[in-house]
């Protein structure tokens, strides 16, 4: 399983801070996004192609081509605004 976590505005709009997704449905970050996009309105909207989504795999920033493996911790979040 992939441990998927949502932060900030995503967490609020999706009304969840995370979920477990089968690795088979998410061979890469891009595949994971496609899987999420097939869900209803808010999922499709937040993860639409033209939306800015930041991603991390095992707590390091990653791009869409990053492959995922069973047990990975993935995080999806809006552009960061600290500092």
């Amino acid at each position: 399983m992939i441990d998927v976590r949502y932060f900030a505005r995503f967490r609020e709009e999706l009304d969840t801070d995370g979920e477990q997704i089968e690795a088979i449905q998410a061979e890469t970050l891009d595949a994971l996004l496609k899987t999420l996009r097939t869900r209803d309105g808010v999922w499709a909207r937040l993860f639409a192609e033209d939306q800015r989504v930041m991603m991390a795999v095992n707590q390091e920033i990653a791009d869409r081509n990053t492959p995922l493996r069973d047990g990975d911790e993935v995080a999806l979040f809006p552009p960061v605004t600290g500092g």
């Binding site: 505005r9 800015r52 991390a56 707590q59 995080a75 979040f77 552009p79 960061v80 500092g83």
Partner: protein, 152 residues
């Protein structure tokens, strides 16, 4: 030499500068950046600020940015401390304190760290105004600030 920390308690920037410089007579210059909570954003009065972060990743991201700065400009040390949770106007949100033998390295190292922190460290600001709460949008100028370090 490198110290990064995330804390819910109020931040004391002066203490970070003191801890950075104590007992190191090689240091010729210290540059520090203190980010303070403003009471106005996008023309609206802000009463409170809430800072969310991604525990674990935040510390790793800050450590990585600090290590890169220390190596790139041969810094004598740096301390990066970021506050999370709820805060009020005029309170420090972040302090980046950088020490080097010469001033130019200290300026570059400090600005590099805050520029990268702004675009890569997983913090998110939510403001409370008279009209309710709102997430703060990322600014394009922050992306541009980060990019300039890649060109050099």
């Amino acid at each position: 030499m490198i110290h990064v920390r995330v804390q819910a308690e109020p931040l004391d920037p002066h203490r970070e500068v003191d801890l950075l410089t104590q007992d190191n007579p090689r240091i010729g210059g210290v540059v520090s950046f203190i980010g303070l909570m403003r009471d106005i954003n996008d023309g609206e009065k802000v009463e409170r600020l809430f800072l969310e972060h991604y525990p674990g990743m935040t510390e790793k991201a800050l450590q990585k940015i600090a290590e890169e700065a220390v190596e790139r400009w041969q810094l004598e040390g740096c301390r990066v401390v970021h506050r999370v949770g709820e805060m009020a106007p005029c309170e420090p949100i972040v302090v980046v304190a950088v020490a080097a033998q010469h001033r130019k390295a200290a300026f570059l190292g400090c600005e590099f760290i805050i520029d990268y922190l702004k675009t890569r460290a997983p913090f998110w600001k939510k403001e409370k105004t008279g009209n309710g709460e709102r997430w703060v949008d990322a600014r394009d100028t922050d992306d541009e600030a980060e990019k300039k370090w890649q060109a050099t």
